[in-house]
């Protein structure tokens, strides 16, 4: 043991003399662990939230019975089923408005509630009596209480004037939901004796067949292992994971570079240890222990950094998930012990993987192996050809995935293969460029410049690969976001046809508002809309009622259309379909879609396809009058108005005064547009932050590689100094060399980045969201990114170059000394 400790002390003494190398190793491990763990923390937080949502008193994780048209049904069916031995429990669901905010209300029957409804909050015996007995309780998540700006114990009124039972915070309850006794819910939602669904518990015996009890009035929905929300958000989390992985690998590049050089520098030390009697097994074991110890320390620091990164990104991620998918994620980070363990594990595993080649070399090293410091870098050149062959194979995999892949994973696979292939082939590309430069060079210094750049390439290649990947991702994602942004704004301009939007609290108020508006001379048109929900081929579908008005014909953007599409919409037997739903159902213009409606199947001819960016649900746009005929319970609370621009503010003020409407219930087009764009920008804020992080890590990789290389550069530079080239000039040449290879890499990253953008737009987005955007290139943005990369390279090169410029002649002379 003492012997091992002494060997460990000797190995560690190397780092004391090579502090920058030590810092490089730690930075690499910390960077790798931090971003990866940060992203994992965010994903874990989101998945916990989905679990909570899925388990909320019978979400998608519980088997249930629902009406075929997804409407409510009489609770008599519940009684009949209980009598027939079915362990069912009724749930009524609806929405209520509190303080101008729309919240989901769930009515449950706690006595019959199945005990196996996932991790739904449990109601204890004492809680049960308080929940059921008047005045009852409204269970609410802490986050929702704060959103509603209410205190625990308060009984806020809903828009109809009725009061909720006192609010009671229930841990584990999903945000955005209020849970009350079903009797209370029936009163609040004005649906006496109605039930939305029946949750099915574990039957004790064999109950009577369902059809024999309720006929075809109810159908069984089996529980899903994966919820709709999880399916929808998969791409988002995959995207985050991809960023985390990219940074993780860039971090490992740094570790690999630092460990590789440290190993070569320590070869004489290892040889001496062996010559002095430390066995190979002891030395190798201690080498591994040293690495694991360093990985543990760096992993812990990385986890703390990852926690802060996650905490900083979470509000944006929560906003993105809310904006894109309507998912409610708590803004406060809670982490499980598994996260810490996984983070430490990934740090140790990453360190071992990054150091694997060095460790294997150490294990196989004969005791008489001559130390060849820096030969490690030279040997990398042999890999150039192998790397290029591997790159071609990876490109072939990308092509195969592109041709035959159908899933989102295949889409990301194409991206990953493309980037991996590009990274592998980069050193060969740069070598060709530098070789061409060397052939074209005339003066001796120019010749040396190109030849030395080539020699340096092997040592820098990992860092340059990291820079290439980070930059390509930046170009790709920025192009995609900018394309999306411009398309979205153009689409929004057409989509927001009305000048003023009103959301009445209920149908009665909507009627009163309409009657009042008819008397106003400045109102040129009143456009009533409506929305209903149904299921088509097992997919949740939103039916969107469009008023028949010329404005829509002129402005509503359609991607594909049949002849006389708008005219065919009016009778009510035709519909436009959203792009994402058309892809999911594989429906084109001219096809027919059957929609289950309360009165029977509603057949709709598809006469147009429209973009519906940002909507996770599939949508069918139909004539609003036809929608109300087919779905009589559709709330008619949405009203759009056409008003001259100079009359808008006056009309809004009058509406607010007349009907006590707040800013959420009435807004002009500009406000709605600004809010949509704000949500859009927030949606991509997390992407921008991750972009910046990745580029930052790549910058660190370049800096650490240059610092590491700087130590081995003296034998190359000293002869030049000896023949009369000044130190500042040598420093300038070194800087130019670094910037040259960084520029070449950046220029290669541009086409790669555009290819990444194309993959994101044409493959990943289509598979993830169901919409495809037009592909645009933004030259100014590309120039900016290349400039940023060069500034990052300049900053990375500044320190080693400054050191060289200030280097004492005595240090350079040592190169020629015998006793060096």
């Amino acid at each position: 043991m003492k012997r091992a400790l002494w060997v460990l002390a000797v190995l560690l003494s190397h780092w004391r003399r090579h502090r920058m190398q030590f810092a490089t190793l730690l930075i690499g491990l910390i960077a790798a662990t931090a971003l990866w763990s940060g992203v994992q923390a965010i994903n874990q937080q989101a998945r916990n939230a989905y679990d909570r949502a899925a388990a909320t008193f019978g979400g998608a994780r519980t088997a249930m019975l629902v009406a075929p048209d997804a409407a409510t049904f009489s609770q008599d069916l519940f009684v009949k089923l209980r009598r027939a031995g079915w362990p069912v429990s009724p749930v009524l669901e609806g929405r209520v408005q509190i303080n101008g905010r729309s919240v989901r209300l769930l009515g449950i029957e706690p006595v019959t509630l199945p005990v196996d409804v996932g991790n739904a909050p449990r109601l204890g015996a004492s809680d049960l009596s308080s929940f059921v007995a008047p005045p009852g309780r409204t269970l609410v998540a802490k986050e929702t209480l704060s959103d509603l700006q209410e205190q625990e114990g308060a009984a806020p009124p809903i828009s109809s004037g009725a009061k909720l039972p006192p609010l009671h915070v229930q841990p584990q309850l999903v945000p955005g939901v209020l849970v009350v006794d079903i009797g209370v819910a029936q009163k609040l939602l004005n649906k006496p004796d109605q039930v939305s669904r029946l949750l099915i518990g574990k039957p004790k015996g064999k109950p009577a067949p369902l059809a024999s009890v309720v006929g075809d009035r109810l159908q069984r929905i089996e529980p899903n292992a994966e919820t709709e929300l999880e399916r929808l958000t998969d791409s988002f989390h995959l995207n985050l994971t991809a960023f985390g992985l990219l940074s993780f690998f860039v971090g490992l590049f740094i570790v690999n570079s630092a460990v590789g050089l440290a190993f070569e520098q320590r070869l004489p030390m290892l040889r001496t240890l062996r010559a002095c009697g430390a066995s190979a097994r002891l030395v190798n074991t201690v080498l591994v222990i040293e690495l694991v110890a360093l990985a543990l320390v760096a992993g812990l620091i990385g986890l703390v950094c990852g926690y802060f990164i996650a905490a900083a990104l979470l509000p944006d991620v929560a906003a993105s998930l809310r904006g894109l998918y309507g998912a409610q994620i708590p803004g406060q980070l809670t982490l499980r012990p598994e996260w810490w363990l996984a983070g430490i594990g990934i740090s140790v595993a990453g360190a071992l993987v990054a150091a694997a080649t060095s460790l294997i070399k150490a294990i196989r090293m004969p005791v008489l192996a001559t130390a060849q410091p820096y030969a490690w870098q030279q040997r990398q050149r042999r890999w150039l050809i192998l790397q290029s062959i591997a790159a071609c194979m990876v490109f072939a995999v990308a092509l195969l995935l592109l041709r035959y892949g159908e899933s989102l994973i295949a889409g990301f696979g194409v991206l990953a293969a493309l980037m991996l292939g590009a990274a592998l082939i980069l050193p060969a590309f740069l070598d060709i460029i530098l070789r061409v430069g060397q052939r074209a060079a005339r003066g001796p210094l120019a010749l040396w410049f190109w030849a030395d750049s080539r020699q340096q390439l092997s040592g820098l290649s990992l860092a340059l690969m990291a820079l290439l990947l980070a930059l390509a991702v930046n170009v790709g994602v920025s192009t995609m976001v900018e394309t999306f942004s411009r398309t979205f704004v153009g689409w929004l301009n057409g989509r927001l046809a009305a000048d003023v939007y009103i959301s009445a609290s209920d149908n009665a108020q909507a009627v009163a508002i309409r009657n009042w508006l008819k008397e106003r001379s400045e109102v040129q048109a009143i456009l009533s809309g409506g929305r209903a929900e149904t299921q088509v081929q097992g997919q949740p579908v939103e039916l969107f009622g469009l008023p028949d008005h010329a404005l829509y014909r002129e402005r509503w953007p359609l991607l594909e259309t049949a002849t006389r599409a708008w005219t065919r919409l009016v009778p009510g037997n035709a519909a436009f379909i959203s792009e994402q739903l058309s892809r999911r159902l594989n429906v084109r213009v001219g096809d027919v879609v059957e929609v289950p409606a309360p009165g029977g199947t509603w057949e709709l001819d598809i006469v147009g396809i429209y973009a519906d960016y940002g909507n996770p649900k599939g949508q069918l746009a139909v004539n609003v009058a036809a929608l109300i005929r087919q779905f009589p319970q559709t709330p008619q609370t949405r009203i759009g108005l056409i008003v001259p621009r100079d009359k808008i503010s006056g009309l809004i003020a009058a509406l607010q005064k007349q009907f006590a409407l707040d800013d959420r219930s009435v807004a002009d087009q500009a406000t709605v547009k600004a809010e949509s764009i704000r949500i859009f920008n927030r949606t991509f804020a997390v992407t921008s932050a991750l972009n910046a992080f990745t580029l930052g890590v790549a910058g660190i990789a370049l800096l650490t590689s240059l610092l590491t290389l700087a130590n081995s550069r003296l034998p190359q530079l000293a002869p030049l100094w000896a023949v009369g080239i000044t130190r500042p000039r040598l420093a300038a040449i070194e800087l130019t060399k670094t910037l040259s290879v960084a520029l070449f890499t950046s220029l290669l990253a541009v086409p790669l980045g555009l290819l990444v953008a194309w993959c994101l737009i044409a493959i990943v987005n289509v598979k993830a969201f169901g919409w495809r955007l037009p592909f645009h290139v933004f030259p100014l943005q590309l120039v900016e990114l290349v400039a940023v990369a060069l500034v990052a390279s300049l900053l990375a090169a500044a320190l080693p170059v400054a050191r060289l410029a200030r280097m004492q002649p005595a240090d350079l002379v040592k190169v020629f000394a015998n006793e060096r």
Binding site: V10, R17, H18, C276, S279
Partner: protein, 217 residues
């Protein structure tokens, strides 16, 4: 104490195998100081490496006291070097990240046989008292080699093997270093086998052997 019989070693080269040692016989008594000379490539260093267990022989035997070195495993040879052999190289092979004091104590600590009094005596005899906190790169060649000798003798080995210990030193320094080594070897009573190119230095030891064409003459 050291008995070598019919020792052979062949290296495979690109063109044809190189027979470096072709049946070497050698005996060395406790406390005896022997110089081994020979032209470059004659196998002097190889012989030293085989005795120290740094490399494996193709045939023959090496017996150090009661141990047959050629039969030892890697761990056994490591143990032999740790406990019974001291090694001095031309390139000093000090650990650059350790101070002089730590380098001196290095092998004794690895062997778990650190003797403070003997260490103090070594420091004094080698004249390293003022250099203990320095690092190898801050020392001259002669000073570095004195540290290497101190490190090798810190465990009071049975046999001290030196491979061109004065190869990097000027004549005066080389004589100083060798004189110190001779004194310390006498003081410890260990055997001493030194490979050298210098016939002058070889003549200062008890016996002078020459390796030629893979055999000792």
């Amino acid at each position: 104490m050291l008995s070598i019989r019919n020792l052979s070693k062949t290296f495979s080269a690109a063109a044809e195998p190189v027979h470096v040692l072709r049946g070497v016989d050698l005996d060395l008594k406790a406390g005896e100081r022997v110089a081994l000379t020979g032209e470059s490539g004659s196998g002097k260093s190889t012989l030293l490496h085989l005795i120290a267990g740094l490399d494996a022989a193709d045939g023959g035997s090496i017996r150090l006291e009661d141990t047959e070195v050629t039969k030892l495993s890697d761990a056994g040879r490591a143990s032999l070097r740790r406990d019974r052999i001291g090694l001095v190289f031309q390139q000093y092979n000090l650990i650059p990240s350790l101070s002089v004091a730590d380098n001196l104590a290095f092998q004794a600590r690895i062997a778990g046989r650190h003797d403070a009094a003997w260490s103090r005596e070594l420091v004094e005899r080698l004249g390293l008292g003022t250099l203990l906190t320095r690092y190898p790169e801050q020392l001259s060649g002669g000073q570095q080699q004195r540290v290497a000798i101190g490190r090798a003798l810190a465990t009071k080995p049975s046999l001290l093997l030196a491979d061109e210990p004065t190869g990097n030193l000027d004549e005066a320094t080389a004589e100083d270093v060798l004189a110190l080594t001779r004194d310390l070897v006498t003081r410890t009573g260990c055997g001493f086998l030194m490979v050298t190119h210098s016939l002058h230095l070889a003549a200062t030891l008890d016996r002078h052997l020459t390796l030629h064409a893979g055999r000792i003459t």
